[in-house]
């Protein structure tokens, strides 16, 4: 059309919909929504068809199947007969364990370093800034691998020669073992007393609070109630210890396996294991075996050394180390020198014939340091008190009856029935070898006398670590992987927390400090009562996100063998092929943990925030 008619407008002009900003806006959003929905649909469709084609399960049924995967450490009872769901739950608990401990330690270290950065002492200030700059500029994964593979595994001594720390703790490359208190069979009888103590505490605090309010004078409402509550708990402890009786128990200790379980006899002949029972094992006469080996404490292979399981002096009446085969060539030429009787020592060749060891008489046969001369440690009146674990199981060094030499062992091996095919197929390389007889048979035929007593204890029982073989028993144990993860996370996160703390303190107005000084408050009082409480309000929100970071960063545990949620999730995915469901579970799990953390911390934050009118 050549001409265009101009219509008179009555104040309202119709705009075509494609030029209407409102309509375009809605349309654009609809298109965007459609694209997003389509994108998700394509993804979903792709994943499901691909999974179907590749025969990969896309449901959660596998969770109820038997897992069969071994897990190194677990805060709850777990064995390979448990389900995948329980294996994942163990992972969640391991993640929570390292996160909670990590958060507390990182906060303490972070505040310390943050305050140090503001110190007037030049050296402290420099140390703190070097720490912060180095740590926060290095990737966490690198730090974790450093702590585990470069520090905690290669540097500490082997478990056979651990560092003994005061108080009965042990440290070695396997980790740190500390004495720990566990609830015993009579703990439940003590619980009412504890509840009473808590109630008394609350009541007294309330009474004291009201009193102080009324008197309008400063006072401490906590001290007296605390003393009273502790007193009540202590009285309850003594009463429970006196009155509760040890239930009838039985044990199935196998000396040559070095393990036993404590059972408690239930009604109707049923029995179940008794957790955390204190047990005393006495062996009038028994033998431990060892083969001499290279002395590689410092990787210098000089001696042919031996090292029996760590026995403590008070545990044995008498002990003697002899050659297992007195007729052997080694026994006729070599002598035994004790370094730390009876646990360790080495062989020497008495070249000058004076009957004792002189420097230079060490032997290292075959040049490689390994000698392989069998030795036995004969122990008389061995007595050890241990506390069983949560499965009622306790472990001892593996004792044999005196005189059970190599000949007896081979005879036993020949007499043993062929092993079940499923358990042990014939050897592939070299000569086939039948495993030696099982522990039960040996215990029946052997002449080793061992008595196991289950000891009555109070509601709490102190468990002291021992080393029966090549692992810790009793106490609480921090594995090298756990320590490496904790160290890495704490040191890394603390460097960020330090900066947050520094920022928070510096943000407090200088006038506040000056006012406090003019009131005559000391430096410490100024900091504790005036500056820090105000800084805390600024610090808290960014601190919360650091806590969440620490929790999420713990998923790097799979680099260093710590079985956290992510590591176990990956193993399960690999064994079942159910990758997608597992990833969904892992995402949901971390989301839940983080949201709960954030929820709790935000409540704290709200309580502390400045109340604005």
């Amino acid at each position: 059309m050549a001409t265009r008619s101009i219509r008179p407008t009555g104040g309202k002009e119709r705009i075509p919909f494609y030029r209407n900003v409102k309509v375009i806006g809605i349309l654009a959003q609809l298109i965007f929504l459609a694209l997003v929905v389509m994108g998700f649909w394509v993804l979903y469709n792709n994943v499901t068809t691909a999974l179907e084609r590749a025969n990969i399960p896309a449901n959660f049924n596998f969770l109820r199947a038997r897992a069969g995967i071994p897990i190194g450490e677990s805060p709850i009872r777990y064995n390979t007969a448990d389900t995948y769901a329980r294996a994942l739950w163990v992972g969640v608990l391991n993640t929570l364990k390292v996160s909670l401990v990590g958060v507390v330690l990182a906060t303490l270290l972070g505040i310390l370093v943050g305050v140090m950065r503001l110190s007037s002492n030049w050296l402290l200030r420099q140390i703190a800034s070097i720490y912060v700059e180095t740590i926060r500029n290095t990737p966490l994964a690198v730090q974790l691998v450093f702590w585990f593979f470069a520090v905690l595994v290669p540097l500490p001594p082997r478990i056979s020669g651990p560092i003994e720390l005061p108080g009965g703790a042990y440290f070695s490359q396997v980790g740190l073992a500390l004495p720990w208190l566990y609830p015993s069979y009579s703990f439940s009888a003590w619980v009412p007393w504890l509840v009473g103590a808590v109630a008394l505490f609350v009541l007294l605090v309330w009474v004291r609070w009201v009193q102080i309010r009324r008197s309008e004078r400063p006072g401490n409402p906590w001290l007296l109630p605390l003393v009273a509550a502790l007193g009540l708990a202590a009285v309850g402890y003594v009463v429970t210890e006196r009155t509760s009786e040890l239930p009838p128990t039985s044990t199935n200790y196998l000396p040559d396996r070095g393990r036993g379980t404590v059972f408690v006899e239930g009604e109707g002949g049923s029995s179940r294991f008794l957790p955390y029972a204190a047990v005393r094992v006495t062996i009038p006469e028994g033998q431990l075996r060892d083969i001499t080996q290279s002395f590689n404490e410092s990787r210098r292979r000089v001696y042919s050394s031996f090292r029996f399981p760590a026995l403590r002096d008070h545990e044995v009446g008498a002990a003697e180390v002899t050659f297992a085969d007195p007729e052997s060539d080694a026994a006729s030429r070599l002598s035994i020198h004790y370094l730390n009787f009876p646990s360790s020592g080495f062989l020497y060749e008495d070249r000058n014939g004076n009957g004792e060891y002189d420097p230079g008489e060490e032997v290292s046969e075959a040049g490689t340091g390994f000698n392989g001369v069998p030795l036995v440690l004969t122990v008389e009146n061995f007595e050890r008190r241990v506390v069983a674990d949560r499965n009622g199981q306790f472990r001892m060094p593996q004792f044999e009856p005196v005189g059970a030499g190599g000949a007896a062992e081979t005879a036993e091996a020949e007499a043993a029935p062929p092993p079940a095919a499923s358990a042990s197929p014939a050897a592939l390389f070299g000569a086939p070898r039948t495993p030696t007889a099982s522990g039960d048979e040996a215990a029946e035929t052997g002449a080793l006398e061992a008595t196991v007593e289950v000891l009555p204890t109070g509601p709490l029982v102190l468990s002291v670590p021992t080393i029966p073989r090549s692992d810790y028993e009793g106490g609480v144990r921090l594995t090298a992987a756990f320590m490496a993860l904790l160290l890495g996370l704490v040191i890394y996160t603390a460097s960020f927390i330090a900066e947050i703390v520094r920022g928070g303190i510096q943000a407090v107005n200088k006038g506040q400090r000056e006012a406090a000084k003019s009131l005559g408050l000391s430096d410490a009082q100024t900091f504790n009562l005036v500056v820090f409480p105000q800084a805390l309000r600024i610090i808290l929100p960014p601190l919360i996100s650091q806590y969440l970071n620490l929790t999420k960063n713990s998923s790097l545990a799979l680099l260093i063998t710590y079985p956290d949620f992510f590591a176990i999730g990956r193993i399960v995915a690999n064994q079942t092929g159910a990758t997608v469901p597992i990833i969904l579970i892992i995402i949901a799990g971390y989301l839940t943990i983080s949201l709960i953390f954030a929820f709790i911390l935000n409540i704290v934050n709200e309580r502390l925030a400045l109340v604005e009118r």
């Binding site: 995967i69 190194g72 595994v153 083969i291 592939l428 692992d471």
Partner: protein
């Protein structure tokens, strides 16, 4: 509208990931002029890369044998190093023609994963490595010890099953990679570590002092290692099977890389004649040239020669033939007859 277009184009692109297979694998390999072989490159003795950057090892020699038989040239192989996780996908998608990467023949891999396994070339089993000075001599001695194992493998599951069957309690330490596991064992952080015995023997020499360690006699699982091809191409499956049977038969009849040409002309033994192509039909039935097996033997030697060269006494691994000896010497290696 362009958004729509881009979006739908993307969908089509994502959704169309199907590979049409027009021809059989044998013809495909011949047209290409090279065999794509999925191998391991970090397991000394079985599949590794030497200082000159060439692939070598027990598994690799079987790749060469198949290439020699099909293409007449043992060097016409394109090696595709694969990880344990990648290997099956590589076969399923046709990325590799044959997978010879210390892979255990199991029912789920044969059916669910969609592979076909050729003759077992190495009978393996899961074992344990310990320090000589640890006093561990049998599985029972592992009671209360720390055992390292690699995560996501069948060895992890076998370990748990066997130990619970024998009522041996141990502490598992699970490592993400084999390297970490070996390093931790070398540092003494675990008392024993477990994997296939061939892997133990192969990695033993990488420890700081191999003399200090030993592999326990006990074997806790069956691990038959076999080459694998994609299910559904019988012609190609036959080729892989019979080249390997040919190498096994060659050892039985004393045909070596040295004397193969001479025997091909002079031998009057009908069995040897059939294998080496003097009587062409036996080999031609498989779809190969009459002298294909002879070419393969000339290139890499018979089964025994391959074994000795890569794993035998002259090598650092020195794995006894054991189950991998010929059937007439008490082993399980049994080449099917050419007829």
């Amino acid at each position: 509208m362009r958004k729509w277009f881009v979006g739908s184009a993307l969908c089509v692109l994502i959704a169309s990931f199907t590979v049409a297979q027009a021809q059989g694998k044998l013809a495909e390999v011949r047209n290409r002029g090279s065999l794509v072989c999925g191998v391991n490159d970090v397991l000394p003795g079985f599949g590794t890369v030497n200082e000159e950057g060439e692939h070598e090892g027990f598994d690799v020699d079987f790749c060469k044998a198949i290439a020699a038989a099909v293409l007449g040239d043992a060097d016409a192989v394109t090696y595709r190093p694969l990880s344990a996780q990648e290997r099956f996908t590589a076969v399923q998608t046709g990325e590799v023609d044959v997978l010879i990467r210390n892979t255990t023949w199991t029912s789920s891999r044969d059916t669910e994963v969609g592979l076909n396994f050729g003759p077992v070339i190495f009978y393996d089993g899961q074992g344990f490595m310990v320090r000589r000075d640890s006093g561990i001599e049998s599985l029972e001695d592992l009671e209360g010890r720390r055992i390292g194992v690699q995560s996501g493998t069948t060895t992890e599951l076998n370990l748990a099953d066997v130990m619970s069957a024998l009522d041996i309690q141990y502490e598992p330490v699970i490592f993400e990679t084999s390297d970490q596991l070996v390093a931790a064992y070398d540092d003494g952080a675990v008392d024993a570590w477990t994997t296939d015995k061939s892997g133990l023997a192969s990695l033993l020499i990488s420890l700081s002092d191999p003399e200090e360690h030993r592999i326990l006699d006990a074997t806790i699982s069956k691990e038959p290692l076999a080459p694998a091809v994609l299910h559904g191409d019988d012609e190609w499956y036959d080729v892989v099977k019979w080249v390997i049977f040919g190498l096994m038969e060659a050892e039985e009849y004393g045909i070596t890389s040295e004397n193969v040409r001479e025997l091909a002309e002079t031998s009057t033994n009908p069995n040897i004649q059939r294998i080496l192509g003097a009587e062409p039909s036996a080999v031609e039935q498989i779809g190969l040239e009459a002298d294909a097996i002879a070419t393969a033997i000339e290139a890499v030697g018979n089964y025994g020669e391959i074994y000795e060269r890569n794993l035998g006494e002259g090598t650092p691994f020195n794995i006894p033939r054991g189950l991998n000896a010929q059937y007439y010497e008490g082993g399980l290696i049994y080449g099917m007859p050419f007829r």
